[in-house]
Each structure stands twice: as C-alpha cells, then as structure tokens.
Symmetry: none
Subunit: 197 residues, 4 copies
DNA sequence: CATGAATGAGCGTTCATTCAT
DNA sequence: AATGAATGAACGCTCATTCAT
C-alpha cells in the first residue's frame, strides 16, 4: 500500500531540489546557466533533471510559476486582511512593496521565461491574483484613495517592468513615483507647487 | 577632397547595413542571434561583419550608442525649443513620448548590451542628454508643472524600465500613469475623486 | 568489486580510441588537424572528445605523456636487464634503437605539443627515464664502452632532434653516426681509416 | 627605354620588403603568422603580397630557397678556400658550425616549409651545395680526417635535425657529438677512456 | 599595379538533449 | 528511477584568398 508511494518520495524530493537549484542559479547568473550546472547544484545528474522537466523551457516555466504562486498568495492574503477591516490603501502599498522586492530578486527569472517564450504560465494562479488585486483596487477607490480609472492591468503593466537590478533605494523611489501617480494624494514634499491649493 | 574617401563608400554603406541588421535582429530575436544571422540579414559575409566590429560586444555597443545618440539629439532639440519659448511641460511630454517609442524598439538591444557587459556606453552623449533633460525639468518646475523633487535620475529610473514588448496602447497608458506621477496636475479623467475640487 | 566500474567500460574504450586517433592524425598531418577530424577518426562525436579532453592542448599533452611513459618504461626495463647481467652497451644500443623508432612516429606530436605550449609534460616519468638512462651510461662507462664525458642530457639533446620523417634506413644510419660519437668504438665498416689499427 | 624598367624598380623593392618581412615573421613566430601580418610588416597591402606570391606556400618556399642559397654560398666558398690550400677538416668544421647557427635561426622556416609540403625547393642550388660539400668530404678523407664511409647524405641527414631552439651551448655540444661520429679523431676531453691509446 | 574590403570555409568550443547502462 | 557519457548543431571568431576600386 504505502509501497507505491515510497519511490515517489525521492522523486518529489528531487523535484524540489531541482527547482531550488534552478531558481538560485537562474536568479544569480541569468537564464544562460547550463542544465548541467543546475543539475550539479541540485546534486542530481542531468538525466534526472530531464526526467522531471523534459525541456529547459519547462524548467524555467516551473520556476516562474512558483514565483507567480507566491505573488498570488501575497495578493490574496492582502485582500483577506482588507476584508477583515484594514485599509485598502495600506494593503495595496504593502503588497506592491512586497511585489517589487520579490521581482527584484527574480527578474532574471522573468527575463529567462520571456526569452524562452514561456507562455505557459499558470493562468489560473494569475487570474486569482488578479481578482484579489482588483478587489483591493475597488476598495481603495471606494475609500477615495485610488484613481477611478486604475485597473488591474495598470498594476500588471507597471510591474512587468519593475526595476530589478537597481539598489533598494532606487526601487523605493520607483515605487514612490508610481504610487503618486496612482493615488489621488499629492506628495507631501511637494505641497507648495500644488496648484490646487 | 572627398575623392580620397571614395573607396570607402562601400565600406561605409556596409557598416550601415550591418548596424541596421544588428538593430533589427537583436530587437526582434534578442541578444542570442548569431553573428552569422546578423551578417546574412545585412547581406554580407561574417568576415565583413568582423572587419567592422571585431567582437559581438563591439557591435552591440555600437548599436546601443547609436540609440543613445538619437535620444540625446531628441532631448537637446526639445530643450532648444523650450529655450525658444515653448512650454517646458509640453516639450517634456513630447520628449518622453518619443523616448518611450524609441525604447520600445530598442529595449532588447539594451538588454543585450547588459548581458554582454557592454559598459562602454558613450558617457559623453549620455551626459549631454542628461543636461538637456535637467534643464527641461528645471524649467517645468519654474512653471509649477513639475514636482519640485523630480530629478533627471527619476527619468532614467523610470525609462530604464519602460515597457518594450507591449502594444502602443499599453505604452501610452504607461506614459499617462508615469506622467501623472510626475506632474502636479491631477488626471482630468479622474475629476470626481480629486480632493482639490 | 570491479562491478562498480562497469558503466565506465565504454568511456574507457572511447578514451583509448580518442588517444589512438589523436596520435595517428597528429603524427600523419601535424598539429593542425581539427578536433572534428580526430573525433571522426576515433568514431565519436566532438562532444565526446571534449568530455575526455577539455582542450586541444589537454589532448595533445595526453598523447605526449603517453609517449613519454612508453619511453620511460623502455628505459627502465633496459636498465633492469643490465642490472641482471647483460652488457650495458648492448642495452643502450637496443634502447636507442627503440627510442628512435618510437620518436620517428611521434616527433610530430612533440612539435604539436611545443606549438601549443604544452609544458605540462609528466616531469616524474621523464625523471625516472633519465635516471634509468644515467645508470646505463655509467655502467657503459665502467665497461669502457662509453665516452667518459657523455651525459643523459647528451642523449636528450640528440634525441630531441632525431629524424622523424625519414625512412628506416636513414634512421638506422643516423643512429650509427650518433653512436660513433657516443661510444669509444670506431665503426666496423670503417676499418681502413681507423688509427687504432 | 629606361621607362619600361622603372615600374619594375618598385616591384623589385616590394618583393624584397615582403621577403624580408616574411623571413622575420616566420622565423620569429612560426609559420602560423597571418598573411596580413606579413604584409603589414612589409609595409604593403595584402593584395600586393599576393601579386608577388600567389600562395602562402609560394612565399614560404621563396623564403626557404633564399635560406638554401645562403647555405650553398657558404659551402662553395668553404670549398674554394680548401682548394686554395686550407685544411679540409677545418673548413668542414667551420662550415658545419655556420650551418648549425643559420639553421638555429631559421628552423621555423624549415618547419614551415615542411608543413606546407614545399617540395618546390631550388634543386639546382641544393645540388651545387651538395657538390661543394662532397668535395670537402673527399678532401678530408684523403687527409685521413674523415671516416671513409661518410657521404654528403650523412651531412644532410644530421643537419635536417639540427637543434634549433636550444641554447648556443647546446648547439656547440651537439656539434661536438656529431663531429666525433664523422671524424676519425676522438674528443680531446676524453683521452683517458680512449682504448686506442 | 597597389589597395584593402569582402568572402566563406573552417576552427576550437559549448550545451540542450538523448540513450545505454 | 537515476546516472552520466554521447551526440551534434550552433556559436564566436580567424585567415587564406579574391576582387572591386
């Protein structure tokens, strides 16, 4: 009974080791790392790697999907907190901060995915993430904190190009610039020039 | 006078053909295009390509610098027009529109440059472009159109991540989002939520 | 016990095939033979060749070291025979004959090594060979057969330039000329001019 | 009248410049120097080089023949001196010393010639040199200084393998070893062991 | 005649993928 | 199921040679 499951335990462990190795290597050295190197990092032979991921593209796609899953989870828990009473604007700001940090680390992965034409991304996870973000935006708009014309696609558009290689300071600045464009609030440091006053 | 240059006419033409082909191929297929393919697109043999650009890195650098030269020129003529009397905000908007269109085509080129370590970018041209943009920003700030805290680096930061692969509509939307973040004006489409009313 | 090595049987066979092919091709056509050609001669793909020898230099070095190992072995067994009672002069003559035949085949290999800067030659094997030859020379000098001033370096000097491309007859003649310079005996074919008579 | 010769003056000068450059470059860096580099050293364009020597092989052959001409000249003047009264053995020794020094410098040239299958060597010059050396040997044999069985081919055989890359000291030692095989005289440093005494 | 830009086969090497063990 | 040796197309680059100027 349990016998049929036991050989899978190794396979599952190997799959995880491979994904970890792939994420690390691709993140660190770009999508040009060799399959041999990823396999070596994972501590398995290439053949094993290919048993789990028949193609480099498949492997990269898997890494990207793993990434997307994390983002989705973050979006959904943000929405959950907002539903539970916290302010939408705050959740959105936190979420975007988290997103940009995650993307900073994994931009290489996305570039890799792109360069391999990995259009195989997990549509479902993406859709759930989009729904959560849409809900947050709507809530923020109800609060009067978010521009009425902002949509989920705007978020995706902006974050599809989030700065990856820059320093944390630059990422923070980028987020500030972006957020000020999305919210109805003017930046506090800029009060004097605001013609609305 | 120009007669002494006559045998070079072909070479000059070839150099241009090669640069055009390189820009096109790298833009279209990424930095992994083979030199052979670029040569074929240019209608020359590989040897000819290597006579003009001893290294793939050299070729990519040349393409990038050509791109930068265009941007610099656009920035400087925008500044010239502003000095001649036109409104800074308008020139900036036009310039950024032009920049994003140019970047849309050449983002892959910059990625290629990056992946090849082409840090040989023409610093001088970049500095002149930066100066022109800085002048435009200052003028816009004097007009009260641009946030006081905006700097040239903000422009570079935002445009280093301008969307390249998206449709023109998406690029326009991206620009709108960005601009609203930079200017003190609220978006007109968003009247209802504008607290200034 | 030897069972754990079984998957390597093919690899070992391939390594040998590659070394044989390399020796043959370099000997026949000089060091300019392509790696592809060596691989083809060995009946493997280039990739296999590179798995065994990461660089052309490595391959050539391996061939040279193999050659040196043979020579060393020949020298040591000659010395062993002499120690066991046979006459030093005879062993030296036999050894040099064997050396020149071996060198005839592999001179091109050494040239190739030289042109590739393969200074990685197996120093230890060379030293052991030198020791064996030195012992033989000393024994020959005790017998009064070898000139007192002859050293191992003389042998190396002469054999570093042994004729490679000539016919067996020419190689034999070369050895005769050389030996007359090394030994205290005049040539038998030269009786009339011999002042000892 | 002189007009028809004037354009040739340049051509002759160019031919010499090219040969000089080729000799220098091939001697210094081996036969792998590029035609472009030889042309550049000569101060002409590649096309000019190819007008004078349609093939790299032709150029190398020319350099080799030039070398052979020098050796022939040396052999003939040595013979002339001997005919004029000097001792054959002395002339032979001097000649061989000169030959080995010349070869030391130009061994690369010979290797190059060999690797290109330059069987186009100037047969006539070689024949004249051989005749001169044969005469010297005969004279030396009459004097009782040279072994009766020594022939011109022996000289060619030995010198086809003269050490090129070694130090002057090693070349001198090589010559000593060789001469002892050619002459009827034992080495002076070896008196005690000489059984003839 | 000289020039030097153009040609293109070939080189050493890499790496995603396959397959015998 | 895992291993890792084998495969071979492709890459960046070189260089003897040709040919338009």
């Amino acid at each position: 009974m349990t016998r049929t499951q036991s050989p899978r335990a190794d396979a599952v462990r190997n799959r995880k080791k491979i994904l970890d190795a792939a994420r690390e290597q691709i993140t660190r050295h770009g999508s040009d790392v060799g399959m041999d190197e990823i396999a070596a990092t994972a501590g398995v032979a290439v053949g094993t790697l290919y048993r789990h991921f028949p193609t480099k593209k498949d492997l990269v796609t898997a890494v990207v999907n793993e990434h997307i899953a994390q983002l989705t989870e973050a979006a959904e828990s943000a929405q959950a907190r907002q539903t539970a009473g916290s302010r939408a604007l705050e959740e959105i700001t936190d979420l975007l901060t988290r997103l940009i940090e995650a993307t900073a680390t994994n931009h290489a992965v996305k570039a890799a995915a792109h360069s391999l034409g990995a259009d195989l991304v997990d549509k479902d996870a993406k859709a759930r993430g989009a729904a959560a973000i849409a809900a947050l935006i709507a809530a923020g708009q109800s609060d009067g904190d978010i521009h009425q014309d902002v949509t989920v696609d705007d978020i995706f558009l902006l974050f599809s190009t989030a700065p990856a290689d820059q320093s944390p300071a630059e990422r923070a600045r980028w987020l500030t610039l972006i957020l000020t464009g999305l919210t109805t609030h003017s930046r506090v440091t800029d009060g004097t020039a605001n013609p609305c006053r």
